[in-house]
């Protein structure tokens, strides 16, 4: 049930471009990603392949991103799959499958080329197309328990271990490992993990595209659902998921962005004392299992501050939340906690709607740089110095050429934000007639209609 893709590391929308002198890649063949992976796995010379999802074509490649004269390039048509052993800089088991590019011993000695016989003559380990010995990279051709090694360029030291760490020790995890992005791909019992982008042998909801912030790469152990530790779906059909063994960092990270009177972002850093839901139901204590059973036991989540029955966000939900003391309502968000302001401090102010503001602020209230008014990228402007010659649309300064009632604004340099208001506030004492002063000045002439409401039909 293991997929041949398990041996590969995927880079989305990426192409590997080689220099002119490189070995030719094979002509594209038809096939799914898994079929291509199988073809590449059985060929020693194949180290990677391009897969075109649209045309379902694949192209086997004899190099990786670490090969000389080769570079990665963005290309939305291709996904690039490279053999893990060539990319990982940690080892599994005794590292006989290690094909990385480390070329220095644990004591800092440069490695001797495997084909060279000086300063150390040897005939046992000469490179062949099968044994993976290459350049002067650390390798383990004789299954040495200490892992990959090499002959050294120091005449007094014939060979030495390279000290390449095991993957479970190479990257440690903090707290519950939600930020772990290491390369362990086996569970505690040694079972190989299932790829997150595959739905076999186990169907699951954690599609990498749907959770871009959880680092669901290939089949590496991760913690997308705030379990106690990183885990993975396994390639054993009889066992859906299992924890992985990953070293805990000695130092716990200093928590950032802690707040008590308001919450920022999703409120993972909220440490306030609100403990009642907005509908008036008291929260359940985190160290209690009634009326609701749960796995957020305070001792198992030391970094989440699950004290008393305070609203908290231990699992990256939309906002702080809690189990409620009412048996019929398991969970309630604590949206009634105020959000912390997230706008820049303002340096200048404007009168009225700012239609006569000619200052030099050129950043939005979120800190994004304004796009010059005369520019056409990243946004094609509908308002420009040409269309509004009298509006003083100079450089990328905030202005209000269309008398926007909410003040000066600008097009922004962020491709996802066409325009936004600026870090300028109304001057105190600057009087704009309140909308309520002549409430009936605005009439309501016409509107659409809603069929069902008018025909008074039964349900």
């Amino acid at each position: 049930h293991r997929s041949p893709l398990n041996d590969f590391q995927r880079l989305r929308a990426t192409q590997l471009l080689s220099g002119p002198t490189e070995l030719p890649s094979s002509p594209p063949e038809h096939g799914s990603a898994e079929q291509c992976a199988h073809r590449c796995s059985i060929r020693l010379a194949c180290r990677a392949f391009h897969h075109d999802r649209q045309s379902q074509l694949c192209q086997l490649l004899p190099w990786t991103q670490h090969s000389p004269h080769v570079q990665l390039q963005k290309n939305i048509h291709y996904d690039l799959y490279q053999k893990k052993d060539y990319l990982r800089d940690c080892i599994t088991a005794n590292g006989t499958s290690y094909r990385g590019t480390r070329a220095m011993t644990e004591k800092g000695l440069r490695c001797q080329h495997w084909h060279a016989t000086t300063p150390h003559d040897h005939s046992r380990f000469l490179p062949t197309s099968r044994n993976g010995l290459e350049e002067n990279y650390c390798r383990n051709p004789d299954q040495d328990k200490r892992g990959p090694w090499c002959y050294t360029l120091n005449p007094n030291v014939r060979h030495q271990s390279c000290g390449i760490k095991k993957c479970e020790d190479a990257v440690c995890m903090t707290c519950n490992g939600e930020e772990y992005r290491g390369a362990v791909d086996h569970t505690e019992s040694g079972t190989e993990c299932q790829r997150w982008d595959l739905q076999h042998p186990h169907k699951h909801p954690y599609h990498p595209d749907k959770y871009p912030d959880k680092g669901l790469d290939d089949n590496y152990c991760r913690n997308p659902d705030s379990s106690e530790r990183p885990w993975c779906y396994t390639t054993d059909p009889a066992r859906e998921r299992e924890y992985c063994r990953i070293r805990l960092c000695k130092k716990r990270p200093r928590p950032l962005n802690l707040t008590t009177s308001c919450f920022r972002g999703k409120g993972e850093g909220y440490r306030g004392k609100v403990n009642v839901t907005v509908s008036g139901i008291p929260c359940q204590r985190w160290d209690a299992q009634t009326p609701h059973q749960h796995h957020f036991v305070p001792e198992k989540y030391p970094c989440k501050d699950l004290q008393e029955n305070y609203c908290r966000n231990p699992d990256g939900s939309e906002a702080p939340w809690c189990f409620t003391a009412r048996p019929t309502v398991r969970i309630a968000f604590c949206f009634h906690i105020r959000r912390c302001p997230d706008e820049l401090g303002t340096q200048e102010c404007y009168h009225g709607h700012g239609e006569h503001y000619h200052g030099h602020v050129s950043k939005t209230r979120k800190g994004i740089t304004c796009q010059p008014w005369a520019a056409q990228e990243p946004h094609m402007p509908q308002i420009s110095p040409v269309t509004h010659p009298e509006a003083h649309l100079e450089e990328n300064y905030c202005r209000n050429p269309d008398n926007d009632s909410h003040g000066p604004w600008c097009y922004t340099m962020d491709p996802h934000t066409p325009f936004d208001y600026c870090a300028i506030k109304p001057c105190s004492g600057s009087r704009v007639p309140s909308v309520l002063e002549n409430a009936d000045a605005v009439a309501f002439e016409h509107c659409g209609r809603r069929d069902e409401r008018l025909q008074r039909k039964g349900r």
């Binding site: 509908s279 968000f333 949206f335 946004h379 309501f444």
Partner: protein, 227 residues
Amino acid sequence: IIGGQPGNSPWTVSIRNRAGVHFCGGSLVKEQWVISTRQCFSSCDADLTGYEVQLGTLFKDPGPGDPDQQTIPIARIVCGPSESQLVMLKLVRPATLNRRVALICLPPERYIVPAGTICEIAGWGETRGTGDGSVLNVAWLPVMAHGECNAALRGRLKESELCTSPLRAGVGACEGDYGGPLACLTADCWVLEGVITPSRVCARTDQPALFIRVSLYVNWIHKVIKM
């Protein structure tokens, strides 16, 4: 919705997170645009990949065979002017309008809905035992005059807020309804006059309920859609 009853509100949408869980409401103002409240979203540049809106069904969690249900991914979020607490959500593709899915009209810029107008709130939020939490609930509230409301709130009412009078029966929006509509029948049409925002307590019987006054931001809404 507390103190409401099952009802129909074809512009009210359910906003769902990556796990498919409903967490806020919204209003369909254009085939590809929904209005909601800033409080429901972690930031103005939040990555909403995997988030969706659900419309066309009365059920909070409809079964697989619901014929009119539409589920549309959210493409991006645009935050409103600083005081507004509004956001607009662009959908990946337009919603299909039919007898279960309709747009709600926007009022003219700076229009003031007259006090006493009976308006409707709608949502799949907490009912606190007063209704069936598995279906869309609606309730009706009378608009309160600005001055009267400002007095009741000891002068803390903003121009960008709109009030409804408290009802003795304890009727109002609650957790899970935030971002949803306060819709008023005006000139033979349902108009989005307010957006539900979180309050300290739901459905108070002694204090007015506050909503974002949408008419102050109609020009901004059109500007975003046009841009």
